[in-house]
């Protein structure tokens, strides 16, 4: 590495770092995603990992891995039906959820701009991005912006919806398999990746049920009460209240 880069001083690792600082920086540099995460990313993108061993036969715990029969009888199944999934993947059903912002920004134009390679069922749909929107040289896109944040999540293309659904499927399958811990983990991943997700209310329902099964009734009730307060009139509110054992309104 060159001693100087532009008008900046020499990098610490090239010069004046103490042995402890060097250790910290080298630790950070050695950090890599696990083989499993790498394989998962490559698979989703539709590429091969150079030098990677063949993928294990056991698939990860998402919808494609969970047998439909295992999760179908589950109590929460009706909230996102197979029909929703099928329509979502084609990008035409987004507006059916009465959630502000997100639904209205999904346009029929999104449909038809995605490729689903027949030879790779788990390969991605490519998110449609307006020209220029993702160039790093586009100035203010690199700045945190509430508007940008909403816009960034609201262009829910098929791949994003499919990702949301996969995570929730995994959570429901975990509940069906009596693994509320795993269900909760899936919901957390959902919340982290889709903070304004189309199916956030359904994620709350799963979370409430998982917390109840873990014996964390107080957490479940607090979450459910908050949801019910903020979603009066929503069919799911009754369901969530019932899951948490809240009195009927």
């Amino acid at each position: 590495m060159n001693a100087r880069r532009g008008d900046l001083p020499e990098r610490l690792l090239d010069g004046e770092a103490t042995s402890f600082e060097r250790r910290v920086l080298e630790d950070a540099l050695q950090r890599r995603p696990s083989a499993e995460l790498t394989r998962r990313m490559a698979q989703a993108i539709g590429v091969d990992v150079v030098g990677a061993p063949p993928a294990p036969p056991v698939a990860r715990s998402t919808s494609t891995a969970a047998p439909a029969a295992a999760s179908a009888p589950h109590a929460l199944w009706p909230w996102i039906s197979a029909a929703v999934v099928a329509l979502s993947v084609t990008g035409v059903v987004i507006g059916t959820r009465a959630r502000g912002g997100k639904a209205s920004q999904s346009s029929p134009a999104a449909a038809g701009r995605f490729e689903v390679p027949a030879d790779s069922p788990r390969a991605p749909s490519i998110p449609a991005v307006p020209p220029g929107r993702d160039s790093p040289s586009v100035g203010n896109e690199a700045r945190p912006s509430p508007v940008g944040r909403v816009a960034g999540r609201s262009s829910a293309g098929p791949s994003e919806l499919r990702g949301e659904i996969e995570l929730l499927d995994g959570a429901r399958a975990a509940l069906a398999a009596s693994s509320p811990d795993r269900a909760l983990e899936n919901v957390r991943r959902y919340e982290s990746r889709y903070p304004t997700g189309t199916f956030a209310p359904e994620a709350i329902a799963v979370k409430v049920e998982a917390l109840m099964r873990l014996g964390r009734a107080e957490d479940a009730r607090r979450l459910a009460a908050r949801f019910v307060t903020e979603h009066r009139g929503d069919l799911l509110a009754d369901r969530i209240a019932a899951l948490a054992g809240l009195p009927r309104r």
Binding site: L8, R23, F114
Partner: protein, 187 residues
């Protein structure tokens, strides 16, 4: 839930060989940048995936040799859009367990510990410049363009980030020594 039947829609022309090459060359860097922004290993993998999917759409427009800068810029915007502190329904009492679990589940080696402890004590507004310069080796103009800040701001943020980094490293080193846990020889 059964996946929807495969449905062939109009294809986007994709140079798969190039995509595969840049994935293999840069995915770890992108993941690392996202982890440094505070995402857990799993969430960083999801965001890395999204970054490459967005890049796929623009692949033909990315100049050869500028792939990494493009990917880092895209990853930064993806991270912004995720808003690491905007999870509306997270229960605060879940988070410590979540972070520790997610980290240990998704990363290799023992690296969670030291660099996390030190870099977490550098201000959010400064750590990005520090990581891009000190760890990822970007130049000052590259960082300025990616973060859309003046060159002078790159230099001043780096200077302040270094001060905080070095103070934090010194504190943690002392703390480890007191606890008798700093047994690994310095490299």
């Amino acid at each position: 839930m059964t996946a929807a039947p495969a449905r062939r829609l109009p294809a986007v022309e994709i140079d798969r060989a190039r995509l595969e090459r840049i994935f293999n060359d840069h995915h770890a860097t992108i993941w690392r940048v996202l982890v440094r922004r505070g995402l857990a290993a799993d969430a960083a993998a999801d965001a890395t995936q999204e970054t490459f999917l967005l890049a796929t759409q623009k692949l033909a427009d990315i100049r050869a040799g500028s792939e990494r800068a493009f990917l880092i810029g895209t990853a930064i915007r993806v991270a912004h859009s995720l808003g690491r502190k905007t999870v509306r329904w997270a229960l605060a009492e879940d988070m410590d367990r979540y972070l520790s679990g997610a980290r240990s589940a998704g990363e290799t080696g023992e690296a969670v510990q030291l660099c996390d402890r030190v870099l977490s004590q550098v201000d959010d507004s400064l750590v990005e410049v520090f990581v891009l310069y000190e760890l990822e080796g970007l130049t000052s103009p590259e960082i300025a363009e990616l973060l859309q800040i003046p060159l002078g701001s790159v230099a001043s943020r780096l200077r302040r980030a270094r001060e905080q980094f070095r103070e934090a490293a010194a504190r943690i080193r002392l703390s480890l020594e007191r606890e008798g846990r700093d047994e690994r020889p310095a490299r």
